[in-house]
Symmetry: C2
Subunit: 236 residues, 2 copies
């Protein structure tokens, strides 16, 4: 009953504090490095108490790992259904190469839209990329939860398309090489925006990128019309 003048500072909304910390962690750890963010930065942005980090996550490092798991959940929420669908089709319907290519491109488009078109992606991509450069304990979480499933799915498609075993070394390498163009348009965003004199990645820019990536995939996967002998004579 005291302190009736101020009703501003609220108390419990269970799990609300935890959620806010995850949010600010995603934002700040993604924007800056682990060492570039302080616990006070995190709690200030989350508008929660400094002690909440210890209370909920055991410490700064614990919060960081929780953020990594949070990223996995977020990405999985849209990637997993896609992957499941593709793998189900591959398992049950024995699609031909054209169908596989369509699956591949639609998956890449999905990836591109989420990675390039979604401002939220810059949050977790920062963490994602820093973990690639200098892996920490969070790398394992991201690898198992995101990289491995996506890569596995891509390899299955690429293997089918190139008549290679799914687990063949060449299949894996080609799969990575096919994802490369997508990656560079995200990671080198600052450079590309400057070179092309863009303000940012707007809808038109993303469409242009999508087209380039599509052309590359088509050329590499041999569906350009020319070198593929199996189902050629495909009208262009």
């Amino acid at each position: 009953m005291k302190n009736t003048t101020e009703q501003n500072k609220k108390t419990h909304a269970p799990e609300e504090t935890r959620r806010r910390l995850l949010e600010s962690g995603l934002e700040l750890f993604g924007g800056y490095s682990f060492d570039g963010v302080t616990t006070r930065n995190l709690t200030d942005r989350a508008d929660v108490n400094l002690a909440s980090i210890q209370y909920y996550f055991g410490g700064k490092k614990g919060l960081y790992l929780a953020v990594a798991r949070h990223i996995v959940d977020q990405v999985s929420s849209w990637a997993s259904p896609q992957i499941s669908t593709i793998e189900k089709i591959l398992r049950d319907q024995d699609p031909d190469k054209r169908a596989c290519f369509d699956l591949f491109t639609s998956f890449m488009d999905e990836l591109l839209n989420h990675v390039l078109g979604n401002p939220e992606s810059t949050r977790w991509m920062g963490i994602f990329l820093r973990e690639q450069i200098k892996p920490t304990a969070a790398f394992d979480i991201l690898y198992e939860g995101i990289m491995a499933p996506i890569n596995c799915c891509v390899c299955k498609l690429v293997g089918k398309l190139l008549d290679l075993p799914e687990l063949d070394e060449e299949t894996k390498l080609k799969s990575y090489a096919l994802i490369g163009p997508l990656l560079i348009f995200h990671i080198s965003r600052a450079e590309i925006v400057r070179t092309l004199d863009w303000e940012e990645y707007d809808a038109a820019a993303i469409e242009a990128v999508r087209k380039v990536i599509h052309d590359h995939s088509k050329a590499v996967l041999g569906l350009d019309g020319a070198p593929l002998k199996l189902e050629q004579s495909h009208r262009k």
Copy 2:
């Protein structure tokens, strides 16, 4: 009194202290982030006094920028001659497409060898990539000194090969997309090594990567049908 044989560690060896700090800065800033490295880390590794950072570079940030300039110098030392040669050929000899493609692949091979095959590259690539993710003042230095020249050269070749203006948007996008595979094999090294169950990037691994990238370039640049004799392997 000029004496170079002296082994005494605390005497003048002008510019030696500066050089050591640049070295340790390259190593540590590359391995960890700017905030992940302390001034004491830097001076300990360089085996110089703590105050030397202020004395020579004005502070930690000054050292970081000096390291960025150092990177530009290092990379330019082998990239600039290559670029000059290519641009001279383009200017004077009006090479046909196959010649352009050969120039392109040999340039990419050179890039690949320096980026993937050289353990020294991980030093500056760390800084390079972190500046892409979160640009600071160092980004301008790296952009002007490395990214712009390399990209410009690649665009000239790609423009020739695809009959597009050098400064066309599509030319630039395709150029980036062509570099993408190379980038991913460096940045996702931790992931790729794990997926392929490699220990590291040994000579055989790099050769496999080189082959994949070469095939991609060939497919994308439309030289798939031509019997291409590459008389390359002019490297050290």
